[in-house]
């Protein structure tokens, strides 16, 4: 008798737990969702995060709130997001640095703060190829000119970046590895000082992203030599792509939404659906145009595959670049 009661009670308990999980997942989200932006306010990632959060409300059924958690070039905020419960209520504004930081940590002999496996990519939203820029007063009109000069005077030309092993450093390293020239790297802390250094002729070249350099190019202060994408950008019709020039040094600064490993599949599906609708939303597309970002939507599965490929490629590149 007691045994049967016990089994019955256990059965009811199990059923209610299952029901509760099912119910919670069915009605996700039931409260506002936080999107962690691991960078300080005001940057391109921040503007993108806010644009997503503003426009996604109707598609999710709950408001999305951006939380800035800056530090360690994006690592601090990423770590804190991964430490949160994988229930779909704390997401990450992902960026290309996620493909770089883990390898840099490993190559420098310190514990990896996070890895590819810690994330479930929900969708990639944008992918903007950067540009290689030189000061308008410099003599190099094409990439070939610059590379020739660099080969003639190895390690005398200098290039600036917004951060060591970051998204404005690696594209030029790709070119170096491919063409075999050497240039001194002068790291700065942030895109603005790196661009200032180029404008002031304190360095010879720099990588910058389309939204940021457009005003300088239009004002005739800097000249873009090549764009690291497969096709020319609409804002820069005269700048050839790496593909046109026969180079394989493609690089994209992408922005995506990530969830933690272990997030329930139903939650992931809901998010994917909401983002699929978001990318067709005119107000969101308008903001992307304002900030100069290229829309490049890839849904979860496809993005996961593309990211895997990039992640492995970056591991090889960084092995050649990182000095211990």
């Amino acid at each position: 008798m007691k045994h049967r009661v016990f089994v019955a009670v256990m059965g009811v308990a199990a059923a209610s737990v299952l029901f509760a999980t099912w119910a919670a997942a069915q009605t996700y989200p039931t409260k506002p969702v936080t999107l962690v932006n691991p960078f300080p306010p005001g940057g391109t990632l921040d503007l993108h995060a806010r644009a997503v959060a503003t426009a996604i409300g109707p598609f999710l059924g709950q408001p999305m709130v951006v939380e800035n958690k800056a530090g360690a070039a994006g690592a601090a905020g990423t770590q804190s997001m991964l430490a949160a419960k994988p229930d779909g209520y704390t997401l990450l504004q992902g960026w290309t640095g996620l493909s770089l930081i883990p390898h840099v940590d490993a190559l420098m002999g310190r514990p990896q703060l996070f890895k590819r496996e810690d994330f479930i990519p929900i969708a990639r939203l944008t992918a903007s190829p950067p540009l290689l820029a030189v000061n308008a007063e410099s003599p190099w009109k094409t990439l070939a000119d610059l590379v020739a000069e660099a080969k003639r005077r190895p390690n005398e030309l200098r290039h600036s970046s917004g951060g060591l092993y970051g998204i404005s450093h690696i594209p030029l390293e790709l070119l170096k590895l491919e063409s075999g020239f050497q240039m001194r790297h002068v790291p700065f802390t942030g895109g603005a000082p790196a661009l200032t250094a180029l404008l002031g002729k304190n360095v010879d070249a720099s990588i910058c992203y389309p939204g940021v350099c457009l005003p300088q190019v239009r004002a005739g202060k800097i000249r873009a030599l090549v764009v690291f994408g497969a096709a020319r950008l609409a804002d820069y019709p005269d700048v050839p792509s790496v593909k046109e020039l026969g180079s394989t040094a493609e690089f994209y600064g992408w922005m995506s939404i990530m969830a933690q490993k272990g997030t329930p599949p139903e939650v992931v599906t809901t998010l994917r659906g909401a983002l699929a609708k978001l990318v067709r939303e005119p107000s969101y597309k308008a903001v992307m145009m304002q900030i100069g970002e290229t829309m490049a939507y890839l849904d979860g599965e496809e993005f996961a595959r593309a990211w895997d490929t990039e992640y492995r490629k970056m591991e090889e590149v960084l092995k050649a670049v990182v000095k211990k």
């Binding site: 005001g42 530090g71 905020g77 060591l164 790291p187 200032t196 005003p215």
Partner: protein
């Protein structure tokens, strides 16, 4: 289009009822975030960024810029009343400002700070209007070697700020430099002294250290005193600056406006350097330099004017070049981009109404802030009447909010309390806290600029002397250092000569 025509157009934009209202709102919010220790203009501007999305771009920038320069008015309040700097540019104000408050002269200190800020702010906007395109060029040409030279000058000037033992000041500056090495080295990527804590990866922040040493340390120290200073009862008469105060402050304010403006132009610069260039300059020029550190009004007027002029100067890289000179202007730039306005060298031509409208609104805003802050002086001075058992917990609350609010990391609050204990010990041992935090700000910039310069030159030190601006600044630093060492050296030599003469006679 002449400058006057542009100014006229600008005022037409700035003086519309809606834009006036936004300017006022920005001034109010700016003053508030400035007064709250640890909460800076960046917090205020970022919070309001989404609210500006639906606004006209000129109105959005008017609002955000008002918060930015408004916060410099409020920053002096906590420095003077409670010896807690709100921003790095308010640290120097603590030195003489707090002393004045303890002497019952908080009112004049706050009043002169407000007026000095107004005059400097207005002069810097005038400078912005007249010289923006010219100075934009200067801003961009200032590279790592010049930065390094400026930081060296700044460090030398730190020595001029000691009112007590020079040796102790230099020791504290050295401590600050050492603390500044913690974190990721931007040039090689190595982690230094982080012990695996991600919160330390960006270094020990200025806010937790300043809040700890000045705020928490002050509270702990006062609690340890057997007899607390009597709660003040300021009268109306004592709240106004005296005629002598005005006379003494006129020169410092004028000089500081120029210094602050020029240093503020530099993108990514330490505005804090302008405050101690001003302080050191006033001390050297003063007929009674021994008054500094003990409540000299020039020590408040100069630095406060300098930091306000610096925010005016900081708008130049943003509006004329399209490069933000710090985190707060970066958010303003984002606000412009969101509205489809691309900040860059062509902004003045493509969007003259916005460009001149914002500048004109800065004049108006400075005036509003003066009118706002003067009556507030009376209110703030009365804060000193609050009994300590209530005041101190509130101060601690704000310091905790300020530290946590940086990036929502409790580690920053822990750092603050650690430095609170250190600050308490330092007070007991009569060590000044100001050099520590100032060197903490200067150190990383000094090191980075140095190494970036050498990377630029391929290892040659000649770069610092081949470039005129850098050479001049370095020469100035060396000269000032020599000047500081000269009197004690001369005394020594004279002493030896006299002793030798006595023996020989």
């Amino acid at each position: 289009m002449g400058v006057l025509d542009n100014a006229w157009m600008g005022f037409a934009v700035a003086v519309t009822p809606r834009n006036l209202l936004y300017a006022l709102a920005g001034c109010l919010i700016g003053t508030l975030v400035g007064v709250l220790p640890g909460v800076g203009p960046l917090a205020g501007i970022s919070l309001l960024l989404p609210a500006t999305f639906g606004m006209d771009p000129a109105a959005a920038i008017i609002l955000l810029a008002a918060i930015y320069y408004g916060s410099q008015y409020g920053g002096s309040t906590t420095s003077i009343l409670m010896n807690i700097p709100g921003e790095s540019s308010s640290v120097v104000t603590c030195l003489d400002g707090y002393r004045m408050a303890q002497q019952g002269r908080a009112g004049p200190a706050l009043g002169i700070a407000a007026f000095g800020s107004y005059i400097a702010g207005t002069l810097s906007v005038a400078g912005l209007m007249l010289f923006a395109p010219l100075l934009a060029r200067v801003a961009v040409d200032f590279g790592p070697p010049e930065f390094f030279a400026l930081m060296v000058l700044g460090l030398v000037l730190l020595g001029y700020m000691s009112s007590g033992s020079m040796l102790k000041t230099l020791m504290m500056a050295a401590v600050g430099l050492i603390l500044g090495t913690v974190g990721i080295d931007p040039i090689t990527g190595y982690l230094r002294f982080t012990y695996g804590q991600t919160v330390l990866a960006d270094g020990i922040g200025f806010i937790p250290v300043a809040m700890g040493l000045f705020g928490v340390g002050e509270v702990l120290y006062s609690l340890g005193e057997k007899v607390l200073p009597a709660v003040q009862r300021p009268s109306l008469r004592t709240m106004l600056p005296t005629r002598q105060d005005w006379k003494d402050s006129a020169g410092p304010i004028g000089r500081a406006s120029v210094i602050g403006f020029l240093i503020g132009i530099l993108p990514g610069s330490a505005h804090v350097v302008s405050t101690f260039v001003s302080y050191a300059l006033e001390r050297r020029l003063s007929k009674h330099p021994e008054r500094f550190g003990h409540g000299a009004i020039e020590g408040v007027a100069g630095p406060e004017a300098a930091n306000n002029a610096a925010t005016g100067g900081a708008m130049i890289p943003l509006l004329s070049v399209g490069i933000p000179s710090g985190p707060a202007p970066a958010v303003m730039m984002a606000a412009l981009m969101i509205h489809g306005v691309r900040p860059g060298p062509l902004l003045m031509q493509e969007n003259p109404r916005l460009f001149w409208g914002v500048i004109a609104s800065m004049y108006v805003g400075n005036l509003m802030l003066l009118i706002l802050n003067l009556p507030l002086v009376g209110l703030f001075v009365n804060l000193l009447r609050i009994p300590y058992p209530i005041l101190y917990p509130v101060v601690l609350l704000f310091t905790v909010i300020g530290s946590y609010g940086i990036s929502g990391n409790i580690g920053d609050v822990v750092i603050m309390f650690v430095f609170g204990v250190i600050g308490y010990l330092m007070r007991h041992l009569r060590f000044d806290a100001a050099p520590v935090v100032l060197a903490l700000v200067l150190g990383p910039q000094l090191e980075n600029s140095f190494r970036q310069s050498l990377l630029m030159s391929g290892g040659s030190f000649a770069i610092f002397f081949a470039r005129p601006a850098s050479a001049v600044l370095l020469a100035a630093g060396v000269a000032l250092l020599a000047l500081a060492c000269l009197p004690p050296l001369a005394r020594r030599i004279r002493g030896r000569l006299l002793a030798g003469g006595a023996d020989g006679a």
